[in-house]
Symmetry: C2
Subunit: 334 residues, 2 copies
């Protein structure tokens, strides 16, 4: 991305972000009438904390590139932010996390009960909106991906600190955990936009490749990101024993001796900074990080290629923004 | 209910229970293909633990009395059991409960992460089924009630151990927490059954009165039930400071002195059996329990009256079972 493209992308994100936030506030104001004010307060805190809003932006762009652009689009798009935030809030309860995006996690601030309940509320409301605006077919796609997310979390628990985890198993986890929802967001946006089958499939493929790359980068940033930028401590994944791509690649590249060292470090006290530094250093030396990044770059390339079907005619601005979003996934540092 | 009616009702519950369980297992087998086996294990444990299945039975009866009776009805009905179990599983995490229905709570047995995730899965699947089988209008009613349940929990937290809580506030909590879903179950069943507006409204009213009575009796059993039968310790509500109808009625009937005693006991260590016994004894002496039971009886009467519209023609067996279910709500001891 050159400077002009980056600047156009940022303008787009800011402009749409304002419209999305307005749509979310309008939705909440309507549906929370007569409800307990604390519920509203928790939702306000959870939803408007400066997230990147990638999912609703994708829904908007997918619908637009297929030819639809009206106010209802924002009403549908907020559903994807609701669901995403619901999963973050529940994940933070599960992980007993204190921080998210550089401030108190919802459960830490309002208590576990409020966090679980607010997550349930967002979950229900997101389904309601998708059912209303994208119809039974949209709801089918959406629910398939939400059920898949839960399944991905269970799979992930199964593979904790297991050095035998294969690349195929890793990708099956992140497919369910992350890519499925991003793919379904694009697909539902396309459906809502009146897309034909070919356009729907292309956008679903774009979302799948983008979502997978997004998670690979997320897993990389967990080791390489700047703690202030991500708002969480480096090495959370290592502490939890998550077998992410850099680790799997390092194991694959390692000789017998290095494999034993890696496996032994995984069994030691993973909260110990010295253990963390040795482990991370060895993964780096074995090319785990660079190899994982290369794979993410390749997937982003595949995502962009999936957009070829929209190259002629259609909507050049939306096409440019979908490409810019793919570039952003690689460039982000938090 | 006389002996013959009771026996017919029990036969009905057993017969339909087998069909419902079959439908749930069929649904799970289809949708869990390729999923992590632990997810299936947690769902199996959560769903097939001997619940009363009142909600799916209501959906079935409401559809049948409106003239529909086919296999798809069971597929819709399991959605109401899924949602109910999802809320129980999350409630038990919130309350840190060890026991439910006389055995380990899901979170206690499989851990909090599994419980939150399995609840999310059931939540999503219930919406999916309602959207698929009852259409956008059914999903609207359903989501309105699930959002209301969350709101009811927030309201309830607000009123903890507050002796000033009014009867109106109590009923607004249990309306959201319990009655709304039971009313919407009946309404969606009616909708699915092809009911006209009048039949839908009558069944929604029946469900609202029945659900309210159900919760009042639940709140009574928390003080008067047999611990072995309910599978939980007597006085859980008191420990949590829940202001239920017997307490509100006792405060209303009390003179200044008794009011002060009740309020002071509420502020003491509510886990102390001596405090519990004194409090419960005083509520009883002030007529709190008998007065709450009278109200429940009156509501059940209103529920049964709402069925008058089905008195002629229609489906005599379903009418009898809806009436028997109302009688069961009053007669149950767990």
């Amino acid at each position: 991305m050159n400077q002009a493209e980056l600047s156009a992308f940022k303008q787009f994100v800011d402009r749409e972000g304002v419209l999305l936030e307005g749509a979310a506030r309008e939705d909440l104001a309507g549906v929370l009438q007569g409800c307990d004010p604390v519920l509203g307060e928790v939702l306000e805190y959870a939803l408007f904390g400066g997230g990147k809003r990638i999912r609703p932006l994708l829904a908007i762009l997918a619908a637009r590139i297929c030819g639809r652009n009206d106010r209802e689009l924002y009403r549908l798009a907020v559903a994807f932010e609701y669901l995403h935030v619901a999963t973050l809030v529940h994940d933070d309860v599960i992980d007993n996390a204190r921080q998210r995006r550089g401030r108190d996690a919802v459960g830490h601030r309002f208590g576990m009960a409020a966090a679980i309940l607010a997550g349930d509320w967002l979950h229900a409301r997101s389904m309601h909106l998708v059912g209303r605006y994208a119809g039974p077919r949209g709801l089918d796609i959406f629910c398939h991906s939400t059920a898949g997310m839960v399944d991905g979390e269970f799979l992930q628990l199964r593979y904790v600190a297991d050095p035998e985890v294969t690349e195929e198993q890793y990708f099956s986890v992140i497919h369910r955990k992350t890519a499925l929802l991003i793919a379904s967001t694009c697909e539902i946006g396309a459906l809502f936009g009146g897309a034909g089958k070919k356009q729907q499939l292309s956008l679903a493929l774009y979302g799948d490749r983008l979502g997978t790359a997004f998670q690979v980068i997320d897993d990389l940033l967990d080791y390489q990101g700047d703690s202030a930028a991500t708002g969480k401590a480096i090495g959370n994944d290592f502490v939890e024993g998550k077998m992410t791509l850099p680790l799997i690649r390092a194991f694959a590249a390692a000789g017998r001796e290095d494999r034993d060292v890696l496996a032994s470090l995984l069994r030691q006290d993973r909260t110990d900074p010295a253990v963390q530094a040795r482990f991370s250093g060895l993964v780096d030396a074995l090319g785990g990080f660079s190899s994982a990044r290369q794979s993410a770059e390749q997937m982003v390339g595949e995502a962009v290629s999936a957009l070829d079907v929209f190259a002629r005619g259609g909507n050049p601005e939306s096409l440019a923004m979908l490409k810019a979003l793919a570039g952003y996934v690689l460039a982000r540092d938090k």
